[in-house]
């Protein structure tokens, strides 16, 4: 029961703030509503007792990506700016696309029979996640982990090269 109430509150927050993110005409408010959506998603993970993923959600999305978005808005836009209203034809076209997309999603969800998994739950403690992440045996994530590390390193070196001043 408690879980149901929390789920309804959190998913309600996600729905409302997702709508507000796309409906507001002020770009920084839009970013803040997006932050609330991401925080509510972290709340869902907390509700599922998946603490690690919730903290990752907070660090990467709320603390990282939203801060990056807000920083770029701070540097580029003025407080009095408003997004222009779309023309009539564009509104009609986007309404059609939205209805089509929602229809496809709802159809897929309702036509798929969700069966409870027969497998036993894997513990989501920090220790088991850590062991799994660097495990190269069955169901280990060592390879993806290393590939992502190399990718991240390459991106960081690239960023330094782009940001570096020319030596004259």
């Amino acid at each position: 029961m408690n879980n149901m109430v929390m789920f309804i509150i959190l998913s309600g927050l996600i729905l409302v703030f997702s709508l507000m993110t796309v409906l507001t005409r002020r770009i920084l408010r839009s970013a803040v509503f997006l932050l609330f959506v991401l925080l509510a998603t972290a709340g869902l993970y907390f509700m599922l007792d998946y603490m690690f993923l919730a903290a990752v959600q907070l660090t990467v999305y709320a603390g990282g990506i939203v801060v990056l978005i807000i920083f770029s808005i701070l540097l580029t836009s003025h407080i009095s700016e408003r997004a222009a209203m779309a023309g009539r034809w564009r509104m009609i076209a986007s309404a059609l696309v939205v209805i089509l997309g929602a229809g496809v999603t709802l159809y897929t969800i309702y036509s798929y029979a969700f069966k409870p998994s027969a497998e036993t739950a894997v513990p989501s403690t920090m220790k088991s996640i850590g062991n799994q992440l660097i495990n190269y045996g069955d169901n280990g994530y060592a390879l993806p982990f290393e590939v992502i590390s190399v990718l991240l390193l390459a991106v960081m070196i690239g960023a330094i090269i782009v940001a570096k001043k020319e030596v004259k």
Partner: protein
């Protein structure tokens, strides 16, 4: 049931049982939420006010003054009087500000501090949430706090506020790295992220002693980076009063200004509490190897007092910084982080890993 000041778990357990006997599970949960919320709220208000008083006194002594002396004995009631004055002040809003974000920003900043306090172990069993991911949770939740500062600066529609917010944002994002990495150094030694587990692992000796060289380096890096994270002097250029009036909270008045002010001091407490928990043994008493009598006397002092003694030591250290060193420029701040603290930290993590692998720690 016998309550003991040395172990609060029986105390909280009896409250829980008393409530569950009278209420449904959902009701118990709701009442417990409210109790925890009120306790943290009271703690933040009282402790924040006390820290403001302590800061003014420490500052005064460093400058050979007496500090506040008029209101109450040794000026003890001064900050409460200041707070009442702040409560009664008019809330002014700039006409061209983004009203919604302007009013939201102080709440983001203060709520983040509440969330961070909720995981700190004050004594055995005296901890609101004991997460499996304790240390990670604190670093991830403080990362959200910078959003409040950025929003406050931008939505005020004021040049000083915006410049202050940008400086503060760049500074906090940079120093977050050092805070996180210096904590990871100790996590390698502790083998757990859970804060109560980290404290329990220090029963045999505080980590700053057991991890010797790398732990001491990590402690210094953490205190420096923590000072920068809380926007305190000598890293307070985000609100450098001589050039930016008051930085990101220039346009705030009354209770909203008080929120920023209180959050700054509570963040100081959180940094000190984390330093205490991770490096200085949390609520564990001071023990010396074979001195049985000495260790026994130290055990008599309750853990809560040990925790606060250590926290006040770190707070005093950070205040000492503030009133001793001159303010750094923005380029000096970023140089310090990226060219000194970060490489030291990364090297330190490798050193700690080697020490743990070879079993060279105590």
């Amino acid at each position: 049931m016998a309550f003991s000041i040395y172990d609060f778990s029986s105390f909280t357990q009896s409250i829980h049982e008393g409530l569950s006997n009278r209420l449904s599970p959902a009701g118990t949960l709701a009442v417990e939420w409210v109790i925890v919320g009120i306790v943290i709220l009271l703690f933040v208000a009282v402790f924040g006010l006390f820290l403001v008083y302590a800061e003014r006194k420490v500052c005064a002594f460093f400058q050979q003054r007496l500090g506040p002396m008029r209101v109450g004995p040794w000026g003890l009631v001064q900050t409460i009087a200041d707070f009442i004055k702040l409560l009664m002040k008019e809330l002014i809003q700039p006409a061209r500000a983004d009203k919604f974000l302007y009013n939201l920003a102080p709440f983001i900043v203060i709520i983040v501090t509440f969330l961070a306090i909720s995981v700190i172990p004050f004594a055995k069993g005296l901890q609101a949430f004991d997460f499996d991911i304790g240390v990670f949770f604190v670093t991830s939740i403080t990362a959200v706090g910078v959003i409040g500062i950025l929003l406050a600066g931008w939505s005020s529609n004021n040049k000083y506020s915006l410049i202050g917010a940008m400086r503060s944002g760049a500074q906090i994002i940079s120093y977050e790295l050092s805070v996180g990495l210096s904590l990871i150094t100790i996590v390698i030694l502790a083998g757990t992220l859970q804060l109560s587990g980290i404290v329990e692992a220090q029963r045999a000796g505080w980590f700053i002693y057991r991890g010797h060289i790398p732990a001491i380096i990590a402690f210094f890096v953490f205190v420096i980076a923590g000072t920068a994270e809380t926007n305190r002097g000598p890293f307070d250029l985000a609100e450098a009063e001589s050039e930016l009036t008051a930085g990101f909270h220039t346009e705030y008045s009354g209770i909203k200004f008080a929120f920023f002010f209180l959050a700054e001091y509570v963040n100081l407490f959180i940094v000190s509490a984390m330093a205490t928990t991770v490096f200085l043994g949390g609520w564990m008493p001071l023990h010396f190897g074979n001195l049985e009598e000495f260790n026994h006397v130290m055990d008599l002092i309750p853990p809560v007092f040990w925790f606060f003694i250590k926290v006040f030591f770190v707070i005093f250290l950070i205040m000492w910084f503030k009133w001793t060193f001159p303010r750094l420029r923005i380029d000096q701040i970023l140089t310090l982080e990226w060219k000194f603290l970060l490489p030291i930290n990364l090297f330190n993590i490798i050193l700690m890993t080697v020490i743990v692998l070879m079993g060279w720690h105590f």
